[in-house]
């Protein structure tokens, strides 16, 4: 793993799996295995060259604490530092902190309530001001400031008595033991107190449009609607950066995004990457390196369990048996994604590989429905006790591949006497109350269930999290299983990775059995970059391909 200084251009899926294996073995126990962040690379001393990253959405939020979307992360990871970073193996590494706290090294107390973090003393903000524990305290307090439009507050709201012990040491107490918080901190970037602290209204501060961080790149300029440019921070405390300019270019159309990669206008394809139907062609492009990179995103046929059609497990099992996953993955998606049985990403330490495998079997599906009493009625549509086996399926409009999947499934389901109607919605409508308040019958949705690499999925699967029933999370399938609830509560309090693994294995078993959603596949990004860029390492535990632009360099 430490030999990763070689070209990453030959990085393949097998390598990824091997690395996952190693990462899994190391687990969360060996946070300091790498010593330094994975940034040791041979490259010219002075940063030179420029990398243009093409993005399908426009980064617009540059204050990393404010509410933002995935695409903004690339900028945050480059301009700012967090206390910790998470590496591709899911191992949490120190970033602004000097070590990762745990119960063994005393950073976290035995009961999980007292945290104590030691910080680096050699870090400066881009304006030259030294970084200190005061900045960390300011950041953590700003997040829960009721007037501040902050992003996620879960976890942060448990913090009490944040105390600056010295400029390089900070401690706090947690209201309750919450193991996922360490992962949350890998996505909590530290902002400067000496600038934002003076702002009366941090929501409209000039800082938000010209951020000052401690990261490897400094803010340069932005042409809204087009691109933004960062320049190398030559005083960066870590290794790198090796490129002088990092540009994020906004290209809203996915075909144009690919075309510009092909024509060489952009050096690296960022979110949402190359579309699967271009994968075959992209692989053959000269002077380009195109690889499949596992993402944490999990695609499923997601059901609303409160609909009478879906209440019965037999119906869900029959639907699942009627999904020709092989044809979808191999045919419609050109073999790009990996079929899966669970929401947990394969590369995760907590991935349960012993779940029963799905089998496409129309006869079995028919038999299940027959036995459960769903018999063909008017128009050949099955019905039971007056409930017709007919439902609507929705997804974001303008996604041709998902629309193909819908029509393919529609035809298969029809053969079984199941009627599926298609009604797609624009993203801005789809993921509002329609999704959050469970107003759908069924949707095809791809999303990540994890924050960082932490396996806690209470937000998605705990019965307390059902928005439509006044819950506070996004368990929009309205899945409720007391055993899962208990396991999730226990998992969030447990710090020992092995113990947690047993808990989340069981959660995955139960969810696989109950089928609140029909698992389709785990996404792989078709990542493309120009030959000659070295140091690029994909990381499925972050939401961005640009999580370590600090290590990128051009081969001379």
């Amino acid at each position: 793993m430490t030999k990763r200084s070689g070209t990453t251009s030959t990085y393949s899926r097998r390598d990824a799996l091997r690395m996952v294996g190693i990462g899994g073995a190391a687990g969360l126990f060996a946070p300091n295995l790498l010593g330094k962040p994975a940034r040791a690379r041979t490259s010219p001393a002075k940063p030179n060259g420029r990398v243009i990253v093409g993005l399908g959405q426009e980064p617009t939020v540059f204050n990393p604490l404010m509410v933002h979307i995935e695409v903004d992360d690339g900028v945050h990871f480059s301009v700012f530092d967090a206390l910790f970073r998470i590496d591709p193996q899911g191992v949490i590494q120190p970033n602004l902190a000097v070590e990762v706290p745990n119960q063994k090294n005393g950073g976290i107390s035995e009961d999980g309530l007292k945290w104590r973090i030691r910080l680096r003393d050699d870090v400066r903000w881009h304006d030259g001001t030294p970084f200190s524990a005061e900045d960390v305290k300011f950041t953590l307090e700003l997040i829960t400031n009721p007037n501040f439009r902050s992003w996620r507050t879960a976890g942060h709201s448990l913090l009490r008595d944040i105390t600056v012990i010295s400029p390089t040491e900070i401690s706090w107490r947690m209201e309750e033991a919450f193991a996922p918080y360490l992962s949350f901190l890998t996505e909590t970037f530290i902002v400067p107190k000496h600038i934002l602290g003076k702002e009366a209204n941090p929501n409209n501060a000039p800082f938000n449009q010209a951020p000052i961080g401690t990261g490897a790149f400094k803010w340069s300029k932005r042409v809204p609607g087009d691109h933004l440019e960062l320049v190398a921070n030559t005083d960066y405390f870590g290794e790198g950066p090796h490129i002088e300019r990092l540009v994020f270019k906004y290209i809203p159309d996915l075909t144009v995004l690919y075309t510009q990669f092909k024509s060489g206008d952009i050096d690296l394809v960022g979110q949402p990457y190359i579309t699967p139907d271009h994968y075959g062609e992209a692989k053959t492009l000269p002077n380009r390196v195109v690889t499949l990179v596992p993402r944490a995103s999990f695609e499923s046929f997601y059901l609303n369990l409160e609909r009478p059609q879906f209440k019965e497990l037999a119906v869900r099992e029959a639907l699942y048996a009627a999904i020709d996953k092989e044809s979808i993955v191999q045919g419609l998606y050109y073999g790009v994604p990996t079929p899966t049985e669970t929401f947990m990403p394969r590369q995760s330490f907590f991935f349960n590989s012993n779940l029963p495998l799905h089998q496409f079997d129309l006869n079995r599906a028919r038999k299940i429905l027959d036995q459960a009493g769903w018999t063909p009625g008017a128009g050949g549509i099955r019905a039971k006790n007056g409930v017709r086996l007919s439902f609507t399926n929705s997804t974001t409009s303008g996604d041709p591949l998902r629309e193909q999947v819908q029509q393919f499934l529609q035809q298969t389901f029809a053969q079984l006497g199941i009627e599926m109607k298609i009604s797609n919605l624009p993203a801005a409508v789809m993921w509002g109350e329609f999704w959050m308040q469970s107003q759908f019958d069924s949707v095809i949705v791809g999303s990540s269930y994890l924050i960082g690499a932490d396996p806690d999925v209470s937000n998605r699967l705990h019965s307390r999290s059902i928005g439509a029933k006044g819950g506070r999370g996004s368990n929009n399938a309205q899945y409720a299983n007391p055993e899962v609830d208990a396991l999730l509560d226990k998992g969030a309090r447990t710090f020992d990775p092995e113990a947690r693994r047993a808990i989340y294995y069981r959660v995955q078993e139960l969810v696989r059995r109950d089928l609140p959603f029909l698992p389709l596949y785990q996404s792989n990004a078709v990542e493309g970059l120009k030959k000659g860029i070295s140091g690029f390492v994909p990381n499925g535990n972050t939401r961005t391909e640009s999580w370590n632009a600090v290590a990128w360099s051009w081969a001379s």
């Binding site: 420029r50 243009i52 617009t60 939020v61 509410v67 979307i69 009721p146 007037n147 439009r149 992003w151 996620r152 507050t153 879960a154 949350f184 929501n203 409209n204 938000n208 449009q209 042409v223 809204p224 609607g225 087009d226 691109h227 440019e229 300019r245 540009v247 270019k249 906004y250 290209i251 809203p252 159309d253 144009v256 075309t259 510009q260 092909k262 024509s263 206008d265 919605l425 624009p426 993203a427 801005a428 409508v429 789809m430 993921w431 509002g432 109350e433 999704w435 959050m436 949705v445 999303s447 990540s448 269930y449 924050i451 999925v457 937000n459 998605r460 819950g471 506070r472 999370g473 996004s474």
Partner: protein, 316 residues
């Protein structure tokens, strides 16, 4: 005239108020909303979404939200974008120049080409040229713009490699030549429809003028055909052309929308589409008002010009 203007001004203000009320209502009644984009975030909770709604003032009754917005607008405050917190006017200003560059170039192209084709078509009526120009204009008006843009990219970028696939300039270059290189394809695609409209218009206008008595008189006097064309025909057609341009003013906002999307041009059309996609209410409202003002202005210009040219039409 001044009474007319005053009357029109009053009507325009009423129009703006109605447009803003309906726009605001429609926008807010659309399911989803500005927080929908966080619906898939694994770490955002229902509580976070409710907190943000309160912070953005979205949990207040609709009419209070509207009055608040309108009151601020009267004081010159257009509000701040939900997405990046910038002032709405700043956001619009940033994108306006890109659109003006694209629209300006393509309009100039269209007027130049359209005028020439139109006049030539009229003076060589029923010639092969006229025939081709007529058929060409008809087809140009019938081709879906997005399709034409795609085919253009396919041929001139993918197959021939003559022009870039999109963007306004090469990052790091940005010279005038570089801008022009990037302008060629999108402005050609965009001007296609306009050439068709202008050439058809010029042809009719020229035919009209040529049949007028004063042209016949001029001809009889032995004035050269070129002079007649330049002085009488073009001169006569000029004011109605301004009227036509006035009617097209509002298309600054959306006229280039498709082209901007296909060619990744950072202009107003794309800003509008993006803002709508993110339910960035303050920016969308700003753009709606902007658009309504353009319509009012455009109509006013057209009406005044037409009334000036054709005294038979009373300003009412």
């Amino acid at each position: 005239m001044s009474a007319f203007l005053l009357n029109r001004l009053f009507q325009s203000i009423v129009l703006l108020v109605i447009v803003s009320i309906i726009g605001f209502t429609v926008l807010n009644l659309m399911p989803g909303g500005p927080l929908a984009q966080f619906g898939l975030d694994p770490g955002m909770t229902q509580k976070d979404v409710e907190r943000l709604a309160a912070q953005l003032g979205l949990n207040r009754p609709l009419w209070i939200q509207y009055l608040d917005w309108a009151w601020r607008l009267l004081q010159g405050d257009w509000g701040h974008s939900f997405r990046d917190g910038s002032a709405v006017l700043t956001v619009i200003g940033r994108h306006l120049s890109a659109t003006l560059l694209l629209m300006g170039t393509s309009t100039a192209l269209a007027i130049a080409a359209g005028t020439w084709i139109g006049i030539r078509g009229a003076t060589h009526r029923y010639s092969l040229f006229d025939y081709c120009a007529t058929v060409g204009a008809m087809i140009a008006l019938s081709v879906p713009t997005f399709w034409f843009g795609l085919v253009g990219i396919y041929i001139f970028t993918l197959k021939l490699g003559w022009v870039p696939a999109g963007n306004m300039y090469t990052i790091g270059d940005g010279s005038v030549l570089d801008y022009l290189h990037h302008l060629i394809l999108p402005s050609l695609v965009l001007s296609l429809v306009h050439v068709a409209i202008w050439s058809r218009y010029m042809r009719t206008a020229t035919l009209d003028a040529l049949s007028q008595d004063f042209v016949k008189t001029a001809r009889a006097k032995g004035v050269s055909e070129r002079r007649i064309l330049l002085k009488h025909v073009v001169g006569n057609a000029l004011l109605p052309m301004i009227a036509l341009a006035g009617m097209q003013l509002p298309s600054i906002l959306t006229g280039a929308l498709v082209t901007e999307t296909v060619f990744t041009w950072p202009g107003m059309g794309r800003l509008f589409l993006d803002s709508l996609g993110y339910s960035d209410y303050p920016v969308v409202m700003g753009l709606l008002i902007f658009s309504a003002v353009l319509v009012v202005l455009g109509n006013l210009i057209a009406d005044i010009v037409i009334a000036t040219v054709d005294p038979r039409i009373r300003l009412a």
